[in-house]
Amino acid sequence: MTTSLPPVTEAQAAEHGLTPDEFRRFCDAIGRVPNLVELGVCSVMWSEHCSYKSSRAVLRGLPTSGPRVLQGPGENAGAIAIGDGLAVVFKIESHNHPSYIEPYQGAATGVGGILRDVFTMNARPIANLNSLRFGSFDHPRTRYLVGGVVSGIGGYGNCVGVPTVGGEIYFDKGYNGNILVNAFTLGVARADRIFRAKAAGVGNPVIYVGSKTGRDGIHGASLLASAEFDDTTEEKRPTVQVGDPFTEKLLIEACLELMEQDSVVAIQDMGAAGLTSSSVEMAARGGLGIAIDLDQVPKREAKITPYEILLSESQERMLIVARAGCEQQVMDIFTKWDLDAAVIGRLTDDGRMRVSAGGQVVVDLPLEPLAHGAPVYERPFAPPANLEELQRLDLGQVQLPGDYGQALLRLLATPNIASKRWVFRQYDSLVGSNTVVGPGSDAAVLRIKGTPRAVALSVDCNSRYCELDPYVGAMTAVVESARNVVCGGAEPLGVTDCLNFGNPEKPEVMWQFREAVRGLRDACNALGVPVVSGNVSFYNETDGRSIPPTPTVAMVGLLADVAHHTTQWFKSEGDVVVLLGRTREELGGSEYLASLHDMVRGTPPWIDLSVEMQVQQVCLQAIREGIVRSAHDCAEGGLAVALAEACIAGPHEPLGAEVELEADIRPDAWLFGESQSRIVLSVRKKHVNRLRELARGADVPCTVLGEVRGRRLRIGSLIDVSTTDLRAAWANALAQRMEE
């Protein structure tokens, strides 16, 4: 059986982004030349975004299993058991290209998309994070993009009723022409009630719910995310998808209510490549076929074509396979929530996707090649030519600061280190009443109502490290996010990652990618945390220039007892300030070199994974024994910045500290170097010895640095600055940059 539409030409295939080989491969797989609608379906299913054809082979190396893992990669999101019969369901996803084209809507629909990935598994979303990368502030578009993206994330998240409790934001000229917007959602589900997108039951109805279908984002995510930017971007521009968070809120409530019954067999959101990918993937996972009648699809505009309906990326839509006979139950719930719902097809047993419109068959394809037939590429790889040059760093050429206090103040005011309040005060971080620690500390902490437990969340990636050494940089992303979660009082549970890279067809980008994945793998193995979900975003480049490799890692941790939640700021005078971990003479890739010496070179701080583990375990043990008053990891800006943040980052009046400086290394390295595996703790005097014991037991270096006291930060004879000045430099810098 075939369709009555004419076959396409190789030229049309090329316009759809298929290489001649890929086109031939597809024709062979289906035994004929596809028609235009079929070509559209193939082009999105075989796009990098949907098929992972360049990354699949490499990703196989990641650890994805563990005793608590209920769902690893491959479903809409990952799931991990947290006890009491509950599970956390989470994932991170990129919306980079759409956000560059229309920052507000691009970011907003990014949030909407990741929410659907989570609640489609019958998890109620309780927290959002976001990881953002923008160009430098001297680039003309940066302010516009930052403003649009941040208000878009807020505009959607605030209106849909899921708190945005954390994230990260960095500025680097490497993102001038290609920003990154990665959105993360975590939901809570009953472990025994997790729904999946695996169709079953021949004859079962396929039900479309949510917003009507319009021409939005045809070839949006799927093709855009697979096409570099250049001057012709304007022409390639699809109708921008506009988000409707109000409808999404209704969709969440309706879907969760529906999944309380047992009328749902499988459910999946219509994300990138909309109706096509959701129907193909659900049917293929179940080894069945699917027949769809496009005439039944709720439409926003009359003149929309079958091709457009199948490829539309209209937001706030879900596809449900229900038990035959339950149609009315489903309809009733969506009517209650004022949402459209329509039976648009049925499952078949012939392993084919059959789509009709106006009584005519427009698609008749075998599902297997669509879902799994895309080529898997082992792309060539080679380190960037300039890498060795980049890694060379002669500290002899680096002048010591004349005034270390001024240096600290300047660092605190750099956009990458300054307070991110300007960003997160635009986000509702409270709705849901689970937020125990909101944005502004190392990790966000959310209680799990009805249990003593809580989860801690952090998202991290230092792309400067990744540029200098993607292997070490990716390891750092894992261990820093874990360290943040530990500082919040939690045991790291699992990871979701968003791998943002340039054009994989370039050997140096592919090398960066492979190295980064190797780093993720080694670090996750060492910490014993599985990767349960993730996302790859390639082709992040403009006019041939790739972004710095950015493997963003979101870590989810568990607190057995919410009472253990800990924050980064000092609590009271007289407490003793202690450093866990060792400070080495490492300045490579530091914010200090970049901001004060305008140098991005050297090798990033080395990580000894076993030492990292020990440091984290000592910190966590101490927190669980209730002797830790504050915990803050040393990240960008090093020890001095960590100490300063502990003084000023709290909600209350700043507290000062008096700290001994015993630098057996360059003082700027001791103060501003970014050696890994270090945590600044404050404890009561009477608990110092217990902390020492714990550290000795794990032979972790444990140095008493000084004491929380007064209203100035004094570090040896080098730094003596009032907390008022520290806070002034740090608190408003970002707002000022935005208003300039």
């Binding site: 209106c159 109000f246 809120k249 929530w337 009443s433």
Partner: protein
């Protein structure tokens, strides 16, 4: 006594309000926007959120829900109505409270903890507080700038209908302490008969030490006290000059 918390399409803090009441040991039921019955509750809470997406104007579309007909009648009979954030906006849009709430002065959504001063304690909603008490309460809104014409403002002041003002930690109603540009730092007001109350801050997010502190609990306790004293809310202290 029993509380009723309304759920409009797009209500977000409705579950939070019920959770807070729970934490305070207050029984509550959910009220559905399509259902005209108030199920015999003694105080109706209009919760925070983005009812109907807050499209057109915040609170503008919710006021036409069937349940609001009953709420308006309930209020006219002296029933206690407690509007939080979006609920406050709905109350202004439906004319149960004077004035309007427009976009924040800085045009962006603000989520922060602010200080508010209790201006009047002879009302069913604030009787548990001491006069001029300074509370730390969370706000989270994009359209919380309270405006009204000069005559209305004067009327509010003369009748002591301003129940809550944005202040600094020391209790001074300064310009810097005003997060959204509200005229006269107004954060919450009541109607002339003092049985309808609207405020932009979120007391339901400030009833537990673990999450947001406990400064908001007094509003709910006040209502409990008022109603358990058994006086019909109507006669609960009608201000002089009315």
């Amino acid at each position: 006594m029993r509380w009723g918390v309304v759920t409009f399409p797009g209500s977000l803090d409705d579950a939070d309000a019920r959770h807070a009441l729970d934490a305070l040991g207050e029984p509550s039921v959910a009220l559905w926007h399509k259902d005209r019955s108030l199920h015999g509750v003694d105080c109706v809470v209009l919760p925070g959120g983005f009812s109907y997406g807050d499209y057109l104007r915040a609170g503008a579309l919710a006021r036409f829900s069937p349940v609001m007909e009953s709420v308006v009648r309930f209020a006219a009979d002296g029933g206690l109505v407690f509007g939080i954030c979006n609920g406050f906006q709905v109350l202004c849009e439906s004319g149960l409270l004077p004035g309007a709430l427009i976009r924040n002065r800085n045009l962006s959504f603000i989520c922060a903890t602010v200080h508010c001063r209790v201006e009047e304690t002879d009302t069913p909603f604030t009787s548990a507080y001491s006069q001029a008490a300074v509370l730390a309460l969370p706000i989270k809104h994009g359209e919380g700038c309270y405006v009204a014409d000069p005559a209305t403002l004067q009327g509010l002041e003369d009748n002591r209908q301003v129940l809550l003002r944005y202040v600094d930690a020391a209790g001074r109603a300064t310009e810097d302490a005003n997060p959204n540009g509200s005229l006269r730092n107004i954060a919450g007001i009541t109607n002339p008969t003092r049985n309808v109350f609207g405020l932009m801050p979120h007391p339901e997010h400030a009833v537990e030490a673990l999450c947001g502190g406990v400064d908001g609990a007094g509003f709910f306790r006040s209502v409990r006290l008022t109603l358990s004293e058994g006086l019909p809310a109507r006669t609960a202290s009608v201000p002089p000059g009315l």
